[in-house]
Symmetry: C2
Subunit: 506 residues, 2 copies
Amino acid sequence: MRILRPHRLGLSLFPPRAHSPKHSLPFLRPFSSTPHRLLLSTELTPALLSSLRASPTRLWNDIHSTAQFGIGNAHGSHPHETGLNRLALTYEDKLARDWFAETTKNLGCKVFVDEIGNQFAVRPGLSSYPAGADGRREVNALSDADVLSVPATFAGSHLDSQPQGGRFDGVLGVCAGIEMLRVLEENWIETVGPVGVVNWTNEEGKRWKRSMMGSGVWADGSKEYLENVWALEDGKHSVKQQLGNHGYMGTVRASVKEGVRMAGHFEVHIEQAKRLESAGEKVAVVSGVQGYKWFTITFTGTEAHAGATPWEDRADPVLWASTAIKGIAKVVKGLGGLATVGCFDVKPGSVNVVAGEVTITLDVRHEGDEELQRIFKQVGFVLGGLKGAMQNDGKQCKVDMKLDFESKAMTFDPIAMSCVEESAKSVTGKEQVPRLVSGAGHDSVNTAKHCPTAMIFVPCKDGVTHNIREWCSEEDCAIGASVLLQSVLRFDQRRQTPGNLQGLSD
Amino acid sequence: MRILRPHRLGLSLFPPRAHSPKHSLPFLRPFSSTPHRLLLSTELTPALLSSLRASPTRLWNDIHSTAQFGIGNAHGSHPHETGLNRLALTYEDKLARDWFAETTKNLGCKVFVDEIGNQFAVRPGLSSYPAGADGRREVNALSDADVLSVPATFAGSHLDSQPQGGRFDGVLGVCAGIEMLRVLEENWIETVGPVGVVNWTNEEGKRWKRSMMGSGVWADGSKEYLENVWALEDGKHSVKQQLGNHGYMGTVRASVKEGVRMAGHFEVHIEQAKRLESAGEKVAVVSGVQGYKWFTITFTGTEAHAGATPWEDRADPVLWASTAIKGIAKVVKGLGGLATVGCFDVKPGSVNVVAGEVTITLDVRHEGDEELQRIFKQVGFVLGGLKGAMQNDGKQCKVDMKLDFESKAMTFDPIAMSCVEESAKSVTGKEQVPRLVSGAGHDSVNTAKHCPTAMIFVPCKDGVTHNIREWCSEEDCAIGASVLLQSVLRFDQRRQTPGNLQGLSD
């Protein structure tokens, strides 16, 4: 695909600059018709905006060169064919974070880190400059307060992965945001409001069992919630310790209101299913995200000798958990939801010992919150039934179910979705863009609570994800990034009046 | 219970000696009618032999004082109410071994360690002294070759435990053997053949998945088998490394023929079930041991996102393993056997990831080898059926089943059993002694392949074992030890002619 850029269209008055944090064009004053860069986003004609594209090569290079930070197991012979093992706030994650900060600084951003390690790279817009300022002005000379004075429109996702995860989940969203910055820079485009890229902390929720952790803390904004998350333990370290150990305990408040505010949040992500692939589609507007709940269920029986304990004397939690897993799968499937048992821990875990205790995790999901609540009740009935049957059998059977985390079902903002839809049409040339509900949770669920948010899905080979074989083609990654870029600009165009610039994150 | 000892019966010519490794009584010559100790076992009248008892207090003290080497979690407020956590060849096990060596040396034994760490404490008998030797003689002046020249009758079991095991499994057998030595010493009893106590290495098979490991190596006797076991890994260390690290890599060949030979093997053990308790019985003759097989079964599916992967695209090994576990339990129960899944490992083990691989262990048992073979086949059918059903469903389902270990069903020696039966009758005063098949494997299964072997069961509270709450009363422990002591002496009486002394371990 040929990337059409304004200067290639003969619109550039100057040759494209090398990437540099220095901006030396004269600054006139906020909301003047003459921006300090060449083109104000509001001056982009629909045709011009629709011709803007991400560079497939640059984006592809970022995705794969950063996979060195936590290289995973190989699934093929090509150097790109390995997974990613980059748990949040590990040394590998720190390296990816350092790369993010360095790269976005070189693309004209100021980078802020909040108290939960979220990284916000902000590229000032026309409205970031104080009213009345004039003369030649450098972006880097802006104070932090100036840069944060107006909420930015963010492209965001996460750089952490599952332990045997793939190279695209989260990474694509962050790299596409960086590619957006590159296209803005090379085309000398000035946005009305600031724009930015955010790397959220521990989206995966693997290392500390709190999915979308960083965006969750930011969205809640309270000190209590932050302290609670800081104290989470992974068996060796608390979140707070690891933020400090890797230098990512920021000073900005982790708060939607008192920290980095947002005008909008756009996230491009692999679909993590195969609906797009099956339909031969390249991109989808995500209309919402399933609700989900995470539980820990503990079955307590009686440890006993595997050879000497007859069936009638056994209280075997492995058998109970197996029965429960089958029963739960059946009822949740019947209710149109999803159920996954991802962990199954046996104590003491010896080949010739009937176990004393089994702990499983349960992840249940549904598009509707009411249905999710019904699923929760039905799971309770399955466990209660099992317990009752065992006790009728004269066995000591204890079952505990604890809610670890929940995320309500979410519908995205219509204006943000329309920006994505229009951009997807212009990039693919199609008249219809599919709308899909996301099965997976994303940081966008948290931003959607506070600002216009939308997501873009691109295909993911065979629907395989959270797996070293996770794959999205170079072309599809670039399509997603182009849609992201245009969506952010279209959203920015709607911010042209000063009244639109404030209060969007409240 | 009052312990009647020969000297209390007025039979002692000398006061009982303090425990001492020095024996200074004159030695005449082997097979002479005058032993170097006071009483030759063959001179014990039936009434005298039947009056010999273990000391409940001493035995109880050994059981509990040695529990300091790997103290487990508490299950009550009394200092004795904790479990035992003494995996084979750990530092705690080394301490228990050191205590065993020291204690048995002080009771007139020479202690031998073989290449797999089995400890054999041998108390020379009349026949251990070279023909023609005369004059005053000290037992410790006997050469190793002299001590090993005649196969000994052993009391034996193991000092290692499960990670959350109890204080009695194995420990009772070894401590009862030591108590037997004490009774022989305090009563100045000289046996015809040597007698001894053996502490077998890694009976539990927890740390390295090879149950009855030390006795298995000894019974096999080949260098290949030894090398194979030496190389077993627990994830950090090989058996060979840990033998070396704790100073228990002995120089005696681990071999039934070339190492320490055995005339007989007697083992007292808690029943690990509640048949004795339910029947109100105190002791049983064990007639045999169930056969068993250990398997590792691996289910391979496809790692995928828990929220984004619809049911039809899931290949979830946790669900498969749960189905298999239920199916296996059903068929094995139907065939009159036992089945236990003691380990269940999930990869990658993340709450929101459909697992890619599940590995379970399976322990199946039956009293009959043919039935066990039938169980093995039926388990195969269950797994094959599951695999077929999944593949019909269009899912990539891989199931591997690997045999890790097997132990054939065993029937014990009639003469050794008759010694136990007679002793049990004399200790309990009952006319009938129950015969039970052992559900658990024991080192006696391995010795029974080569020499007359029998086992003694004592009750175990609620049948609970491999559990910190495992319990056997002080009285019951002592009854078992008294039966053991008398059984070994009755067996020794049958060895009075030289012809009986050789070749018993071949």
